[in-house]
Each structure stands twice: as structure tokens, then as C-alpha cells.
């Protein structure tokens, strides 16, 4: 009986440690998907954290330095726009007014990206300042 109790306690102990490790690791490695206006509402919450930022590439803001392979552009949801700095070539199909999700961190007001994903959001077309936020969010999914 005592031995069973000991094995039982050991088992519970192992599970407790594993559970603690799992939730500890989860809390630090969750990557939030947000739009620029959500960041603007609460910038401190996301500072330095890895996030996925979705939006539309603002027309006329794409700049690519071929020598340093530095890509910069503005990503917007129609409410707030943020500059994005990415090291690497613009992905194929990357162009103005297209939906993108960039992965990386905010450094001050600039988003430092290490991955640019082009979203084939054929349902969505940016028309001036009028952007349907819910539609945008869905189409970037």
C-alpha cells in the first residue's frame, strides 16, 4: 500500500511539474495575431513580444534596397498604419494594396519583421480609407 502511495505521489509530482512547465512555456510563446489599431490601443502589451501583424500594404510606400536587402513599407488596417522593416527580398506576389501578415516584434513604433506572408485576399480590395475591419481580419486568416 505504501509503495502504491509512493508511486502515485511520484506520478502526481511528475505530472504537476510537467503541467507547470507547459503553462510556463505557453505563456511566453503565444504569438498574438493583431491588426495595427489593436496595437495602437495598447502598445505596451505587445512591446518586445513576438506577434503576427496583419493588414494591407499601403500604396506608394514600398521601398526595397537591393544592396542591403532591406524592405520597408507601411501596413495599415485603415485606422492606423505602421512602418515595417524586413530583411530579405519581397516575396513573390508582394505588391501594393495586398493583404499581408508580418511576423516579428515592435521596436518603438517600427515593426521589425523576419517573415512576410502574402495573403491571397481576392475577396478584399482596399478602397481608399474605407476598410471593413472584420472582413480584413477574416480574409487574413
Amino acid at each position: 500500500m505504501n509503495r502504491k502511495l509512493a508511486y502515485g505521489l511520484a506520478g502526481v509530482g511528475v505530472l504537476a511539474i510537467a503541467g507547470f512547465m507547459i503553462f510556463q512555456a505557453l505563456s511566453t510563446s503565444l504569438v498574438y495575431f493583431i491588426l495595427p489599431n489593436e496595437h495602437a490601443a495598447n502598445p505596451a502589451q505587445y512591446e518586445g513580444r513576438r506577434i503576427r501583424l496583419g493588414g494591407i500594404v499601403t500604396p506608394g510606400t514600398i521601398a526595397f534596397d537591393e544592396r542591403d536587402l532591406r524592405l520597408t513599407f507601411l501596413v495599415t488596417d485603415g485606422i492606423v498604419a505602421y512602418p515595417v522593416r524586413h530583411t530579405g527580398a519581397p516575396p513573390e506576389l508582394f505588391k501594393e494594396s495586398t493583404g499581408v501578415v508580418v511576423e516579428g516584434r515592435f521596436d518603438g513604433g517600427t515593426f521589425i519583421s523576419d517573415n512576410v506572408l502574402v495573403k491571397h485576399t481576392e475577396v478584399y480590395v482596399a478602397e481608399g480609407d474605407h476598410i471593413d475591419i472584420e472582413l480584413l481580419r477574416e480574409s487574413l486568416k
Binding site: 509503495r3 502504491k4 508511486y7 506520478g11 511528475v14 505530472l15 510537467a18 512547465m21 507547459i22 512555456a25 505557453l26 511566453t28 510563446s29 503565444l30 504569438v31 498574438y32 495575431f33 493583431i34 513576438r50 503576427r52 537591393e66 544592396r67 536587402l69 530583411t87 530579405g88 527580398a89 519581397p90 516575396p91 513573390e92 506576389l93 508582394f94 491571397h120 481580419r137 486568416k141
Partner: protein, 665 residues
């Protein structure tokens, strides 16, 4: 009604479903009343179900190969100018077809079981369970996701299969291996349930299904690693495992199956863990269904997912049903599966197996949490989150290290209780191997904790395998007076299970080294390569020669030829390119890899290829020992195969015939 391939296919699946339902009912009645005639009828019907499903598969292949766009599945997923092999594999390139393939393999396994299983008390109920699972799958094919629906206005051409899938021949192999694994693991599940129903919770069910389990596990292992290789060659990021939901859901049943093939040995030798083994195989089977629900219903988004549809909820329902019924059965028969024997000592073979089981279950739990957590968060506060790879790495790496540690100790421990003297001598040798390997790793310049530990544990395991082999060979050679080589050969042929497991464990060491090196020490940069100029990268020089474009069957490729120089001499010519299929707007960058034993050089076109530009931007990745993963997989497969081949002149052990004297009473 007009006769077409669509109606023919629908008729074949409906016939298969009808026959399967009959076989299920006849099987249940035959098993309950112990009526040998009904049992035989159910068994023969299982063969008929297989033939009917085979007809459906042949009809679908016919429709795909003849571009019959009146069949909905063909219209939605095939294309006239696709090459023949793509048309053939389109059968499993989308949801409805892949369920058909799954159902077909299942009917095949059931038919083989019905014909070849010896007349054993477990056979009738095991076939009933197989038939029940089969009714579900055939029901999905015939009713919920019928690929044979006839279109009133067939299009002239279809969009073709998903470009990512068409882009690599591995897609012809990987899904089939996966379903062979899933279906193979259904067999021990069916026999476990039969064992509970017939109150025979002994070791018969696992002995009768040992080969099926091992083969299923082997197929699943091969499927997972070949999927990794597909990802490596196709997705352009130079990695092979991203902890993506689709990868995770195939990995979870593998983890529980791995635990299972170890813990059944404890029951075979020590009559312990009866309920544990039943629960593990229930969990394994249920996880294959849950995985299908998660990835086929669109609840978790993933790069590989097939998308929404009514199939998801149906699989969820089946998952709940399977779980409740099996656990209910376990509860009902609890007094039969309760363990009476106790662990004699923690330091014993069974103690090590138990511990490694706990680890594999903890890993399963971690993968499950990581996969489902985004759903939980979204349900609670509406935030959209993903769980990054760091989570899985941080949590699983310490556990993998423990698994490797135990893999070295376990096989050397005797059953029941270890003798301290020989154990400490063995441990001293293994610790020596560990220390030597760590010293080597440090001298080589490794500093990260997990790669260094992995190398150390590789040394630990190699010494352990050496001790294991020497312990078996040396006394035998002494006894018989034969040479060491001859004795080893003899031993390998006589003790296939033991030798097979050693080979598999060796394969695991090779794979572990490949993973540790390639994930810990890769270089990943983007380089601008002006045409004609040599650009230095690591020990190489890369020279982009000229862009090219070419046309294949149903495919247009644009790419760049890159000459690879080493020490001033050209050693390779790589052709990274971008494929476009049919009129799909989606293009697939296709990497070119120089495989070597020490490291891979991986080139993938970054961005677009502009024929007017004077340079191309290339993603260049160098990662060490990646090929070891694929070699290790081959070793794993060989070891599994070796353990599967029956040893010579070993009669099949039948302990209890099925049709007892009461059959006609």
C-alpha cells in the same frame, strides 16, 4: 438513369456500405450466438466489401485518368494537362478522395484479417469492431462526402490538384504510408476491444496483432519522416518540422503507439499493465480520428489543411462515440483488467518501460495542449493566437533527453529486478561513452546545451547497444566455438525481435543527431547573386549563371542555374526554381539542395525572378547532418522490417480455438 462513372462509383460505395452493414449485423449475431455459419458469412462478406470498395477506387482512378469532369471530385481537383502520376495521386490530394483511400485500405486489412486470422475466440468480435469502423468510413464516403456526385453541367477542365502537393513525388507516397499506419493501428484496437468483450484480457490479443501493430507503427514512422522530407524539399524554408497542427495530429498517435509497443512487452513478460495497454491502444486509435477531425474541419488553420465541410463534425461525433464506448467497455470489465501483480522494483526493465511510457504520454499531452490552446484562447477572449515552435521545443527537449537516456538503460535491465553489480558496471561503461562524446562535441566547438547533450546521449546509447550485442554474442560464441561474425549472423536471424529493436534504436540515435545538428547549427541568409559573379558563402562560392524557364506537363517553371564552387572547383550545379501549375495563381518556390553527408546546401529563390534584372536574390541555407535524419529513417524502417519477418520454423501459437463445442448448442 444514365450510366456514368459517377453513378457506377456511387453504386459501388453504396454496395460496399450495405454489405458492410450486413457483415456487422451478421458478425454481432454470430459472435453473440456463437453461430459458426453467421461468423463465416460475415467473414466472407468482409472480402466482398473489399472488392466493392476496390471497384469504387478503380472507378475513381478511371474517372481521373480519363478526365471525366462529370464526376464532382474530378472536376474540383483534377486537370487535363496534369501528368499521369499527378492524376493518380489526386485520389488522395483532397478530402473526399483521401477518405475513400482510407476506407479502401481499411476494407483491405479487414478482408485479410477475416481470411488469415486463425480460428480464435477473439476473431469474431475483432472482425465486428473492424467492420464497425469500416461502416463509419464507408458511410462517410457514400453519404457525407461522396466523391462520385454527378455534375449536371460538367466543366471542360478543372483547377488541378493543390500545387504544393503536385510539386513533389513524395506526395504519392506519404499519405498512403500515413493511412497504412492509421489503419494498421486499428487492428490491435479491434482485438483489444474483442478481448474485453470476450473476457480474455490476457496477452492473446497483443500476440495475435503483434505484427500488425509493429507494421502500423513502422508505416506511421515512415509517413511522418517522409512528410518531413516533403516539407524540406517543397516549403522552401529549409526545415522539416514546424509543429504545425497537421504534423502534430499525426505525431500524437505515433507517440502513444510508441508507448504501446513498449508497454505490451511488460504485459507479455510480467502480466502487468493490462488496463494501461488497453487504454493506450484506445487512445492511439481515438487520436487518429481526432486528428482527422481537427485538420479536416477547419477548426485549426494550417498550411496543409484541406478546409471546411461536413466531414469534420462527423469525425468529431465518431471520436466521441469511440472514446465513450471503449472507455465504457474498459470500465465494465474493470475487474478483469485490474493488475494483480505489482512492480517488484523500480530499477527493472518494466520500471524503465513504465517511465518511458509516462514520458511519451506527457509528450502527447504537450502536443495536444499546444495544438488545441489557440482554440481555447479564441473561445475565451476572442484573441487569435498561435503557439510558436519555441513552446514545443522548450517543453519537449528535456523530455526527449530523458527518452534517450532511458533508451540506453532500459534494454540492459533485466525483468523484475536488476542485479546491482552488473548494472553499475554497464552504467560505468555507458557513462564513459557519454563523457567521451561530450568531450568530443565540446572539442568540435559545440556549446549549446541540447546538441551537446544529444551527442553525449548518442555515445551513451552506442555503448549500450554494444554492451547489449556483446552480452548476447560473446557467451554464445564461447559455448558453440563459432567465430564472432558467424555467431552474430546466427543471432540476428534467430532473435529477430531483439536485433530488430537494436537496429531501430540505432536508427533513433542517428535521427536524433541529425535533428540536433540541423536545428541547432544552421545558417540561413538571403544573398544577392549578380549574374556571372561568384559570391562567397561559408566554404562555397555561388555563381548565378542565367535565368531559365521551361514547360513541363501542366507546369511552367522559371528558375536560375547556380554553379557551386568549392576550393575554386565547380562541385555542383543547382537549379532552384518557381513552379506554377495550370492556371492557379499560386506559385511554388522549389528549392534545390546539394545533399552531402556532413551538411546540406539549400537554395531557394527569394521573391520573384525578374528576367531583366542583373541579379537574383536567393535564400541560402546550410544545415549540418540533415541527411542523417533520412538515413536514420531508412535504418528505422529496416529494423522494423527485420523484426516483422517471422523467424524460421516457429509455429504460430494458437492458445484457444474460437468455435468451441457450444457453437451448435
Amino acid at each position: 438513369m444514365e450510366l456514368s462513372l459517377g453513378t457506377l462509383g456511387s453504386a459501388a460505395t453504396a454496395l460496399a456500405l450495405g454489405l458492410s452493414v450486413y457483415a456487422l449485423i451478421a458478425g454481432i449475431a454470430g459472435a453473440m450466438r456463437r453461430d459458426a455459419r453467421l461468423q463465416t458469412s460475415a467473414r466472407l462478406t468482409a472480402v466482398a466489401v473489399f472488392l466493392a470498395t476496390t471497384t469504387a477506387v478503380i472507378v475513381m482512378q478511371g474517372a481521373l485518368l480519363t478526365d471525366d469532369f462529370s464526376v464532382k471530385y474530378v472536376a474540383e481537383h483534377s486537370r487535363i494537362d496534369s501528368p499521369t502520376w499527378v492524376k493518380i495521386v489526386t485520389l488522395w490530394a483532397a478530402l473526399e478522395g483521401s477518405v475513400l483511400l482510407w476506407a479502401w485500405l481499411l476494407t483491405g486489412y479487414t478482408a485479410v484479417l477475416a481470411v488469415t486470422t486463425p480460428n480464435h475466440a477473439l476473431r469474431p468480435w475483432a472482425l465486428v469492431i473492424m467492420q464497425g469502423v469500416q461502416v463509419f468510413f464507408l458511410g462517410v464516403v457514400a453519404i457525407v462526402a461522396n466523391p462520385f456526385i454527378v455534375l449536371a453541367n460538367p466543366p471542360f477542365d478543372g483547377p488541378g490538384a493543390n500545387p504544393l502537393l503536385q510539386n513533389h513525388w513524395m506526395m504519392a507516397v506519404h499519405p498512403v504510408l500515413m493511412y497504412l499506419g492509421f489503419v494498421g493501428l486499428t487492428v490491435p484496437f479491434a482485438f483489444a476491444m474483442a478481448a474485453l468483450i470476450t473476457r480474455r484480457p490476457g496477452t492473446e490479443w497483443m500476440q495475435l496483432t503483434r505484427r500488425w501493430t509493429l507494421a502500423g507503427w513502422g508505416f506511421l514512422t515512415a509517413a511522418i519522416i517522409s512528410g518531413g522530407w516533403w516539407s524540406y524539399e517543397v516549403l522552401g524554408w529549409g526545415g522539416y518540422w514546424a509543429w504545425d497542427p497537421v504534423e502534430n495530429v499525426s505525431f500524437m498517435p505515433w507517440l502513444t503507439a510508441t508507448a504501446f509497443i513498449h508497454s505490451v512487452q511488460v504485459q507479455e513478460r510480467r502480466r502487468m499493465l493490462k488496463s494501461w495497454n488497453v487504454m493506450l491502444i484506445v487512445l492511439t486509435f481515438a487520436l487518429t480520428i481526432l486528428g482527422t477531425f481537427l485538420t479536416r474541419s477547419g477548426v485549426v488553420s494550417s498550411v496543409h489543411a484541406f478546409g471546411d465541410g461536413p466531414v469534420g463534425p462527423v469525425f468529431l461525433g465518431f471520436f466521441v462515440l469511440v472514446t465513450l464506448l471503449s472507455l465504457g467497455l474498459v470500465a465494465w470489465r474493470w475487474d478483469q483488467v485490474r493488475d494483480r501483480a505489482e512492480l517488484d522494483a523500480a530499477v527493472s526493465r518494466e520500471g524503465a518501460f513504465l517511465l518511458v511510457n509516462v514520458l511519451f504520454l506527457a509528450l502527447t499531452f504537450m502536443v495536444l495542449i499546444g495544438t488545441l490552446f489557440p482554440l481555447l484562447v479564441e473561445a475565451i477572449n476572442g484573441s487569435r493566437v498561435t503557439v510558436g515552435a519555441p513552446f514545443f521545443d522548450v517543453v519537449s527537449l528535456p523530455m526527449w533527453m530523458l527518452v534517450l537516456l532511458l533508451m540506453g538503460i532500459g534494454p540492459l535491465l533485466p525483468w523484475r529486478k536488476a542485479e546491482t553489480q552488473s548494472l553499475s558496471r554497464n552504467l560505468a561503461w555507458m557513462a564513459g561513452g557519454f563523457a567521451l562524446a561530450v568531450a568530443g562535441a565540446l572539442a568540435f566547438g559545440l556549446r549549446e546545451i541540447y546538441p551537446v547533450l544529444t551527442v553525449g546521449l548518442a555515445g551513451w546509447n552506442l555503448v549500450s547497444l554494444g554492451l547489449l550485442l556483446a552480452g548476447a554474442i560473446v557467451p554464445r560464441a564461447r559455448l558453440t566455438g563459432r567465430g564472432l561474425a558467424a555467431t552474430t549472423m546466427r543471432y540476428a536471424f534467430e532473435q529477430r525481435r531483439k536485433v530488430g529493436s537494436m537496429v531501430v534504436h540505432f536508427g533513433v540515435v542517428v535521427v536524433a543527431l541529425g535533428i540536433a545538428a540541423s536545428s541547432g547549427y544552421r545558417t540561413d541568409v538571403q544573398l544577392r547573386l549578380p549574374y556571372g559573379e561568384r559570391v562567397a558563402f561559408s566554404q562555397y562560392e555561388l555563381q548565378a549563371l542565367a535565368p531559365f524557364s521551361e514547360r513541363g506537363a501542366g507546369r511552367v517553371s522559371v528558375g536560375v542555374e547556380v554553379a557551386v564552387f568549392q576550393g575554386g572547383r565547380q562541385v555542383d550545379l543547382l537549379r532552384p526554381h518557381i513552379n506554377a501549375f495550370g492556371n492557379s495563381s499560386m506559385t511554388v518556390p522549389t528549392a534545390a539542395v546539394r545533399y552531402t553527408l556532413g551538411h546540406d546546401l539549400y537554395l531557394s529563390v527569394a521573391g520573384a525572378i525578374d528576367p531583366t534584372a542583373d541579379a537574383v536574390i536567393m535564400r541560402v541555407i546550410q544545415s549540418p547532418l540533415v541527411t542523417w535524419i533520412w538515413f536514420g529513417a531508412v535504418i528505422l524502417a529496416l529494423g522494423t522490417g527485420w523484426a516483422l519477418v517471422p523467424a524460421r520454423s516457429q509455429p504460430a501459437a494458437v492458445s484457444a480455438p474460437a468455435a468451441t463445442g457450444r457453437a451448435r448448442a
